[in-house]
């Protein structure tokens, strides 16, 4: 029973930790499916987190915070679009630039505006997204097996958690069941085909990037307004890159993305849980190994040792019609 509880707790923690990864990963899915590489997920999440917490604390509203997080994050996505779509710049370089600008400006503006070492003021509970307790969650807590699953795992998360997980089927539906999705997938494979079909490649890609911005904005808001009660400098701490790794791991598919993010979140949860405790057979696993595992797994995947990850064909290449 203790083991069962421990498992539930680790899974609960897994959910919380994988949400920002999942949102960022789905964000990356939109832009990469549209043929725009995005290593600027990290930066967009960071500005989202900052804008969210800062405006939530200034306007005393979680929803205004979320709105601003999305707005600013979309603005950064559009900068990426301006560089890589309109001016056909190198997408990697543009992503790196965005990460730099995000890292610097959040700390600097935070310090200048709030003077708390780059932190925003601690958010009050109405400035954050609190947990939603599902009906009957407390009542069934005692029921063996299903009780804890319902009351711990399913109920009791913030609204953004549910948004993240609902975004998975929604993204799948958008991508594979709507006109927009068809076009996004097409433009990531062969932009010329989209162009000759009478659809604007640039506008399509911009729209995909807006989706990316919205999702990274929510991811950022989750970090600063749910997981934590305020913004702290560099609070993304590489999550954007892990999300990118998860995206590759998921082979650019939404449902896979969810599983990849849950896996990486699970590794994180496990490393917190197991800190210093020796494992049977393996012995004490260095935390560092656990932390590096997502990256190592991704490299192994990329190397084709466990299946092959084939990115959208037009990814990373600016669409140039007239040489």
């Amino acid at each position: 029973m203790d083991l069962f509880n421990a498992i539930i707790q680790v899974l609960d923690s897994t959910i919380r930790l994988s949400v920002p990864l999942l949102l960022a990963c789905l964000a990356g899915l939109y832009s990469e499916r549209a043929g725009i590489f995005d290593i600027g997920l990290e930066g967009k999440m960071l500005v989202g987190a900052f804008a969210g917490a800062a405006s939530a604390s200034v306007f005393h509203s979680a929803y205004i915070g979320l709105g601003m997080a999305i707005l600013i994050s979309v603005a950064f996505a559009l900068v990426h679009g301006f560089a890589s779509i309109t001016h056909r710049g190198n997408q990697i370089v543009s992503g790196v630039a965005i990460n730099f600008i995000a890292a610097g400006s959040t700390i600097m503006l935070g310090q200048a505006w709030f003077q708390q070492g780059g932190r925003t003021p601690a958010l009050a509970s109405d400035e954050r997204f609190g947990a939603i307790i599902w009906p009957g969650a407390d009542a069934v807590r005692g029921v063996p097996i299903l009780g804890p699953i319902y009351s711990e795992l399913i109920s009791g998360h913030s609204v953004l958690v549910y948004v993240a997980f609902l975004a998975v089927p929604f993204t799948w539906w958008v991508l594979f069941r709507t006109r927009f999705g068809l076009r996004v997938r097409a433009v990531g494979e062969n932009p010329a085909a989209v162009d000759t079909a009478g659809i604007s490649v640039a506008w399509l890609r911009y729209r995909a990037l807006i989706c990316t911005g919205v999702l990274t904005g929510i991811a950022g808001a989750y970090l600063s307004m749910v997981q934590n009660g305020g913004f702290v400098k560099d609070m993304t701490a590489g999550k954007g890159y892990i999300a990118l790794a998860a995206l590759i791991f998921a082979k650019w598919k939404p449902v896979n993305a969810m599983f990849a993010c849950l896996l990486f979140g699970f590794l994180d949860a496990l490393s917190i849980r197991l800190q210093g405790t020796p494992l049977p057979l393996i012995g004490k696993v260095p935390v560092q190994l656990m932390q590096a595992l997502p990256y190592i797994l991704t490299v192994i995947l990329l190397a084709g040792f466990i299946g092959k990850a084939i990115p959208p064909r037009a990814g990373g290449v600016p669409y140039v019609k007239e040489r």
Binding site: N5, A6, Q9, D12, S13, R16, L17, Q111, Q115, Q116, G117, G118, R119, A122, A131, L223, Q227, N228, G229, G230, V232, K233, D234, M235, A237, A269, I272, R273, Q275, G276, V287, Q288
Partner: protein, 309 residues
């Protein structure tokens, strides 16, 4: 004397609600009382430490106080280069005649909050969350375990946030660790983790449990949800350094401050009055008296890198 004091913060930043903020408060108090302004600087990388120290020294700043053991390497060099300048470093011993090294018996204060934690706990399980895994923080943990066990706790869950300085500034991870500990049954959680602690206190409050703050009085961070704070009078150290320099009474050497010297303590204020009943109050006061009297000797983890509790 005519002094131009300077204060250097560590990576957590000036308003970390904790250690750096305490030193800032000391300097502010000095400024308010004497009207003497001071200069300050927040570092953001290693190369800057020496640069900042040297720059202040060159500019004739004196005394120069700095918060955090990470300054030690740079100070070793600069203290020799500027023998006339008075330095004070907190949390670390730098053995130079013009350096005052202020260290604290964190184990003693931690013992007290451990006693309170155990008494406030319903499950008799309490938690400790350290910042970066270094002997200094283990010293906090060890004293806490001692106090908690003495007051009847059956289990103390201990976790560290990480191995790198980033561990001082990761509230999200702190919160996650706190949730894990609470899931494991802890209902009072003590955070000795700098900025990370903000997340710990938040998570404890969110879960309807109690947190314990550190360094500064953090009772107000989650009013009614923070049992107490293990205050470390960094503010006093900074204030004294500046005052002594002003009054030409500055001395180098080691200041080892415990309960007796008023260097560490537990914090009471309006925010936690309701949480601390008379029995608890009596027990903690008794422990404090015993420690001061020497009847209780709290083990110092750093003396032998182990914890007997």
């Amino acid at each position: 004397a005519d002094i131009q004091p300077a204060l250097l913060y560590d990576l957590g930043g000036k308003f970390d609600k904790s250690f750096n903020e305490a030193s800032y408060n000391g300097a502010e108090k000095f400024k308010a009382e004497t009207g003497i302004a001071y200069v300050e600087f927040e570092v953001s990388n290693a190369t800057q430490r020496e640069q900042a120290l040297r720059r202040f020294a060159e500019d004739g700043r004196n005394p120069i106080a700095m918060a955090g053991f990470s300054w030690a390497d740079a100070l070793e060099k600069i203290a020799v280069e500027f023998p006339e300048t008075k330095f004070a470093i907190i949390d670390m011993v730098v053995d130079k005649p013009n350096v005052r090294s202020v260290v604290y018996k964190e184990q003693e204060g931690s013992y007290l909050v451990g006693v309170m934690a155990a008494m406030a706990s319903k499950t008799k399980k309490v938690g400790f969350i350290g910042g970066m895994d270094i002997p200094l923080i283990r010293r906090f943990g060890c004293g806490y375990v001692g106090g908690a066990k003495a007051a009847g706790a059956t289990d103390v869950i201990q976790n560290m946030t990480g191995d790198t300085p980033a561990a001082w500034n990761d509230p999200a991870k702190g919160g996650e660790i706190a949730k894990t500990q609470i899931d494991q049954g802890a209902d009072v959680v003590y955070a000795a983790a700098g900025g990370t602690g903000v997340g710990v206190l938040q998570a404890a409050a969110d879960a309807g449990k109690l947190g314990i703050g550190v360094d500064s009085n953090q009772n107000g961070l989650q009013p009614g949800k923070v049992l107490t704070s293990m205050v470390k009078r960094v503010d006093v150290a900074v204030y004294n350094t500046f005052m002594d320099a002003k009054n030409d009474k500055f001395t180098g050497g080691i200041n080892d401050l415990g309960l007796k010297e008023g260097g560490v303590d537990y914090a009471m204020d309006d925010n936690n009055k309701a949480l601390v009943d008379d029995a608890m109050k009596a027990a903690v006061e008794k422990a404090k008296a015993d420690i001061i009297a020497g009847t209780i000797k709290v083990h110092d983890y750093m003396s032998d890198n182990s914890c007997p509790y």
